[in-house]
Amino acid sequence: MKPAPFAYHAPAQLPELLELLADDLSDVRVIAGGQSLVPMMNFRLAAPEVLVDLRRVPELRGLRWAPDGALTVGAAVTQAQLLRDRRACDAFPVLAEGIRHIGHPQIRSRGTVCGSLAHHDPHAELPALALALDARMTVASAQGVREVPADDFFVSYYEVALEPGELLTAVTFPAQPADAGWAFRELARRRGDFALVGAVAGMRAVGGAAAGTRLVLFGVGDRPRRIAAVEQLLDGAAPAERLGEVPALVVAAIDPVSDLHASAEYRREVAGELAVAALAEAWERARGRGEDQR
């Protein structure tokens, strides 16, 4: 199908772009890669009156590194661009591992990191990765700039903490401990599909025990969820002795829905399995990394 008519602007400066977004009389949408928005427009599930394209704004392009190792990804950076950056893949291996599950090469070469975050499909990889990695969102409007932690950014299905007139200009991933081990697992019916359920796990190995454990599940409700009960269970313990208790804690913490693709019951069972598999792999990697450091 063909999209409904709309007006199109591709300003070259950020202030000009934010002025266009501040128009509260029209239905204005930002377009970056458009890999979620254009299909919705082609189906006429979305029919914005004005599209503001951010492709010409120089400060939204590229990756920036802070002296402390934090990585800032501008709003125009595609998923493929991040995957091609060796330093980013080395510093955040789980980010690369997760992004490789997004769609297909033709999608990743146009779809942006920030676009996926702002779209917030709760079955998508990037919101879960941002939550697991304690990412910070930089949000700008004509009134100014603010930072939003990932945990406050994802509100509910396709809803984020962006007010009308605001743009997600960048996401910052804080540096991770060099000895942290991470793992990513997801189950999808076909290669490239959104996950039925997925898990992101990370931890450090300190003297045979887990430390700083992180577990995020996605596809299990209205937004990605940190499973604090599992994190507390494993911290200070040898994971092998405790993993058997993980599925019950996971099931208690999530609220998946039944839909065309899977029943809620199935999702609960898979969530437990994927959590255990991701945690076990993260532990193995953390142990390997810990030994490398010695």
């Binding site: 063909k2 007006a7 458009g34 254009v38 427009m41 599209l51 394209d53 090469p105 146009r110």
Partner: protein, 177 residues
């Protein structure tokens, strides 16, 4: 407000200028304005991959890009793969030799996807090859020969089969027809 916007796109090395409504899809721009009907339109919502083209060297779905977003871009379509004298691109030759098609509707998309893959990943693993091709659908389900054709193309390129000057992600479309 929804008035036509002037754009210039370099398609297979030739500049194509037109005034287009913002809602015009790049796939329709290529077919109607550039007169290149080799880019096939299947699903029009980014699932089938038949409209895959190279945009600034990267494989993308032309049905998920508005033509106005491609203003100033360099595009290669399936028509840009062969030499002007008709000599096929090694990937096209491999699809011909390995019978990597049945009805042929999906073929332009598979060709562009394979060209893009082998440029960046000359020796893809089985996993990488299948992952790259998974974004293209063949309704005839002739996947085995398509995978075989991609492998054959890989071997031909590794053995030094010539890539026509007009094709390829780097230097493609730098002014020559």
């Amino acid at each position: 407000m929804t008035d036509p916007i002037p754009i210039t796109v370099t398609v297979n090395g030739a500049e194509v200028a037109a005034e287009v409504p913002p809602r015009l899809l790049l796939s329709d721009f290529l077919r109607r304005h550039a007169g290149l009907t080799g880019t096939h339109v299947g699903c029009e919502h980014g699932v089938c991959g038949a409209c895959t083209i190279l945009l600034d060297g990267e494989p993308q779905r032309a049905c998920l890009v508005f033509a106005v977003q491609a203003d100033g871009a360099r595009i290669t379509t399936v028509e840009g793969l062969a030499d002007p004298d008709g000599a096929l691109h090694p990937v096209q030759r491999a699809f011909h030799e390995a019978h990597g098609m049945q009805c042929g509707f999906c073929t332009p998309g598979f060709l562009m996807t394979t060209v893009a893959l082998l440029e960046r990943t000359p020796e893809p693993t089985e996993e990488e090859l299948l992952d790259a091709l998974a974004g293209n659908l063949c309704r005839c389900t002739g996947y085995r020969n398509i995978v075989a054709a991609a492998r054959r193309a890989q071997q031909a390129l590794a053995a030094g089969a010539g890539v026509p000057a007009a094709a390829g992600a780097e230097g493609r479309g730098d002014g020559e027809a």
